[in-house]
Structures are given as structure tokens and as C-alpha cells.
């Protein structure tokens, strides 16, 4: 059984937590997320031009790069995380250019060596899969694709073809950290997607509170929280871990118990 399969169990939804590598004490922050009950970790690779992100994650990217975070540092953070947490699935999430700079094969091999399970690349749609997909698959990594409210029925099979690990449903047409979609729309879209795939479907964008997370956890396999955690890192800096752990614990409780209520 893969780490993703263990994390997305049939009887309860999973909590997926995103933070940006190199922003704050990332190792301590990641440990706090795991201690709080995160089931899957998405580690953001900082990029100068995060076009799909709202202000919170933009600033996290810039804070990280201003501290001099390099690709090698991101991989080192992943490697150390894997050593400390052998069971927790780890996803690298970011933009294409840093992933292909030294060639996609180089990146895929290094990510696999670091113990990464899967990769989300925001600006590689299925149409451009040859850019990175074959290299990731050859290295045994899952390519986790995004589906959005604009992904219609005609297009969904193309998105699913070549996707593995899980599917990330972006609940709003917009950037990260902004408004949240209505639960009716989320439920309808998740149901539609699940008719076409056996992959777990995690829902993200705009999820900030345990109440929102619980609502989504009733209808989806996973709930992704990013900007709310990033805001804590931005606000509390080196003291972020205790606050991250607190929010993650309340989110995890809401997500894990949602279907019992």
C-alpha cells in the first residue's frame, strides 16, 4: 500500500496541509503539522512568480527566497522530513520552471531520492504533460493534477489520464487563500469527478476554519489547507510551530470526525 493509500482511508477524510519551504523554521513547522494530525504534507517550492497564488502564499514565496532558499534546500528539507516521518505522504508543490531548470529527469530523480511521494505542478496542464509527466512516472512519483470548476465533463478524462496519487479539486476559479466556494457546488463537482475516477479527491482553495473543513470532509476524501497556515508562519515567525499545531489539531479533529456527526 502506498503512503497515499494509507492516508486516504475509506472511513474518514484526510487533512492535507501546505506550507512553503524555507519560510520560517520549516522543519519545526512540518513537525507541528504532523503532531497536530496532518495526514498529507504539501511542501511548496518557492518561486519568484507564483501566478496562481493569493497574497499570503506570494509573500511566503518572497520571504523564503529573500532568505536565500535554493532548490537544494527544498530537497534537503524533504529528505530530513522523510527521515523523521517515514509514514507521512509528502508532496512537492510548485511551478514548472524550477522543476525543469536542470531537466525534469534531474528533478524527478532528486525528489524520489528525497523520499517525496508526488508532485503538483500548477502550470503544467495535461496538454503539456510531456514536459514533466514521463520523468516523474519513470522515477516512481505520482503526478497529482488539479481539477477546477472550469474543468467540464469533456475535459475531465484528459485531466485524469496520467493523474495518480490523488486528485486536487480547486473549489474556486481564482487564486489561493481567497473566497471559498459554496458547499453545494463542491459536493456536486466532487460527486461528478468521482464518477470518473477511483482516485481520492482532495478539495482546497479558501479553506481556513475547522467549520469549513468539516463541511467539505463530509463530501470529499481530503481537505487542503494552505493560506491559513502560511498566515501563521508569517505572523509568528520562529514561534509559529505551537500555533500551527493548535490550528492543525482543530482542523484534523473536524476533518477526521466529520462523517461521524
Amino acid at each position: 500500500m502506498t503512503r497515499f493509500q494509507s492516508a486516504f482511508s475509506p472511513d474518514r477524510a484526510a487533512l492535507v496541509c501546505f506550507i512553503t519551504a524555507g519560510d520560517g523554521d520549516t522543519a519545526a513547522n512540518l513537525d507541528a503539522l504532523v503532531a497536530g494530525g496532518a495526514d498529507v504534507i504539501e511542501l511548496g517550492m518557492p518561486f519568484t512568480d507564483p501566478m496562481a497564488d493569493g497574497p499570503a502564499i506570494q509573500e511566503a514565496n518572497l520571504r523564503s527566497l529573500a532568505k536565500g532558499t535554493r532548490t537544494a534546500d527544498v530537497l534537503a528539507i524533504a529528505t530530513a522530513f522523510r527521515a523523521r516521518h517515514p509514514e507521512v505522504p509528502l508532496v512537492l508543490m510548485g511551478y514548472a520552471n524550477p522543476m525543469i531548470r536542470r531537466g525534469p529527469e534531474w528533478f524527478a530523480a532528486e525528489a524520489a531520492k528525497a523520499g517525496v511521494d508526488g508532485v503538483i505542478c500548477v502550470d503544467i496542464p495535461p496538454e503539456e504533460d510531456p514536459e514533466i509527466g514521463p520523468a516523474l512516472r519513470a522515477a516512481g512519483l505520482d503526478l497529482i493534477r488539479l481539477a477546477t470548476p472550469t474543468t467540464d465533463a469533456a475535459r475531465l478524462p484528459a485531466v485524469l489520464d496520467g493523474s495518480s496519487g490523488f486528485l486536487y479539486y480547486v473549489s474556486v476559479a481564482g487564486i489561493t487563500g481567497k473566497q471559498q466556494a459554496a458547499i453545494d457546488s463542491i459536493e456536486g463537482n466532487v460527486t461528478r469527478i468521482k464518477q470518473h475516477t477511483d482516485l481520492p479527491v482532495a478539495v482546497g482553495f479558501g479553506v481556513r476554519t475547522p467549520e469549513q473543513a468539516e463541511e467539505i470532509a463530509r463530501v470529499a476524501d481530503g481537505v487542503v489547507v494552505g493560506s491559513a497556515l502560511i498566515d501563521i508562519v508569517g505572523e509568528h515567525g520562529e514561534n509559529a510551530p505551537e500555533h500551527l499545531r493548535e490550528l492543525t489539531a482543530s482542523l484534523a479533529k473536524a476533518v477526521h470526525n466529520a462523517r461521524k456527526a
Binding site: 518561486f47 512568480d49 501566478m51 514548472a96 520552471n97 502550470d123 496538454e127 503539456e128 475535459r155 476559479a173
Partner: protein, 404 residues
Amino acid sequence: MTEQKPNSFRNQPDERGHFGQFGGRYVAETLMPLILDLEKHYTAAKADPSFKEEFEDLLEHYVGRPSPLYFAPRLTEELGGAQVWFKRDELNHTGAHKINNCIGQILLAIRMGKKKIIAETGAGQHGVATATVCARFGLPCTIFMGATDVKRQQPNVFRMKLLGAEVVPVTSGAATLKDAMNEALRHWVAHVHDTFYIIGTAAGPHPYPELVRDFQSVIGREAREQMLQRTGRLPDLLVAAIGGGSNAIGLFHPFLDDPAVKMLGVEAAGHGLDKQHAASLAGGFPGILHGNKTYLLQDEDGQIAEAHSISAGLDYPGIGPEHAWLKESGRVDYTAVTDTEALEGFKLLCRTEGIIPALEPSHAIAAVAKVAPTMPKDAIICANLCGRGDKDIFTVAEALGAEI
């Protein structure tokens, strides 16, 4: 990559929007269906005679085309070599070539039933052109402009506002064109259902590089016809400045299959190629940004570098993908000139021909000044004068240490 010697340089991109290894559609999934829809509508528009008719009617009666092809006698004499001719796209309505593309794109937006227009702008020429066509067609317009550029291009900011556009200053990054484009993309992704993004240069995700080139190719088609009519032959060399590269591809494309016509694209070398500059082909590497694969100024981790040019319109760390392909295929030569050289080109044209050029074509003029003296007197250079310099007089005054 199985790269064959092409039979034609004019049949790119392929059906997936690739120019060789460049171009493509590297966008977030939210935008992908819209990009595909745009492609579908553009294909239909191209095949529709009424679209072409309306486009050409507006170019003639609203923009003022054809723009003149002008022989520059005193500049030619001063340089002492090849004859220098200018395609006078600075005489267009709004003072630059940008309007050609905006007319085409707003007609597409209307065909697609979009209700709102957004655009990014660097120097402000594309912003002004977009605000102009929005006023002409009565559509609300939002222009994203780097806060740094807002400061150095105040006259254009005021023009956009007069034309009814909302100008949004973008403060992220270096607050220039790249950041304005990021913010425009962020806005677009949240308003895909009713908003059309008029991209100002021959870059971005497919089909933008193709459609911007097609709309701008009016420059080269006219120049080719005018040159044949006036001199009975084709020029020996075409010269154009390149930021994203829309005026250059517009001039070059209709000549690409004329093997006798050489072409020179001029990037902005800023403070110098060993310092901060905006010459992506000279100093960059292939990468992915803003929806396309192309040459980018970047570090070894793929982080995008800040570009610099005295010309806000060239201040961008990338270049249109077709230029990346034309460089690799060897069809077009590319060079770069510094801020200082561009200022000399600016002054040269003012003094010899009574034309105040924009800082963007001043780069082309600087390249002409270098190359013309090395060519025989019966040789013909045709350079694109893609914008007028009124907007730049404050920047130039500051650079020359003059008080206005």
C-alpha cells in the same frame, strides 16, 4: 526533438501551439478551458471574411493605416552606408504599433461575448491602446501596471484614466511588467467567465503568440508592398526592437520566406550584458513563465531575474516564443544595445529627421547606426519605428540631466 529544416518559416506554431520546443500552453487548469475556447473562436474568426473586413476597416479609418514607409535621407547621409527606411507605426492612433493588436483582440472578445477587458502594461502604450479600444467599443477596462512603471510613465497613466480605464498599480516583485502580468493572470483566473485578457505582446499561452503576430503582421505586409512599390525590390535588412517582440514579429513574419531579406532583432542590454539588462536571448536560458516556454532571464534554480531597461516597454525577462524559435533556427539574428546607446539613437533621430522616437525603437535605431555604415550605399535597411517618444521625454530628460 526531431527537428527538420523547415520548408517554410511561416507555418508555425503546430496544432499544440509549439514553435519548435518553444511556446505551448503552460497555464493553471482553471484557465485551460478558456484558452482552448479562445483558440476555437480565433480559428473561426480567421475563416470569417466579416471579421477580416471589420478589422481592416478599423485599421484604415480608426488607426490610420497604412502607416507610411519613409526614407530617412539625412540619417542615411550621416551614417554613410546603407539607405535607411522607417516603417512609421509611431504615426498610428495612440502613437505606437500596439493598437493593431488591440483592435484584433477586442473584436475577438466581442465575438466571444466577453463583457470586461483586462490588460497588463509596461511603458503604458499597450495600456493606452487597450483603454482606447475599450472606450471605442464601450467595454469596461482594467489595466494592471507595475507601480514602478506607474511612476515613470505618468503621462500614459493619465491617458488611460482619461479614456475611462481603471489603472491598478502592482506592487509585488520589482513592480514592473512581469509583475503586472502575474497580477493580470491572477485577476483573470478569478473572472474567466466574463473577462477577456488582451495580452500586449506576442507571448503568453497559445494561441496568444500566434494571434498577436497575425494582427501585427499588417506592419510587415504593408512594408513589403510599399518597399516593392517604391524601390522595386525587397529590403536587405529588417531591424526592430524586442521586448516581448510583437512589433518585430509583425515586421519580420511576412518576409520570413524571402531568403534574401536578413533580419535583426534588437534586445535591451540595459546597463550592459554583464550587468542588469533585459536581453533574454543574449543572456537567458529556455524556461517556462507566463504560459509559454521561451528564453528567460533566470538563475540556476529557475528563479526569474529582474530585468532592467531604460525603456519600460522592453523591461521584461522573457521574449515571445516565436523569436526563441527563430533564433534557434538561425533565420533571424539578434543583438542587444545598452541604455546609453539607445539614448544616442534617440538623439540621432531627433536631430537628423525631426522625429522623436520612443525609447523602444531607439534601440533599433542604435542598431541601425552600428550596422548601416558597414553596408554598401545601394543596400536597403527597413527599421520599425514602432512608437513615438512623447511619453519618454521625462525619462530622457532625467537620463540627460536636464530639468523640465
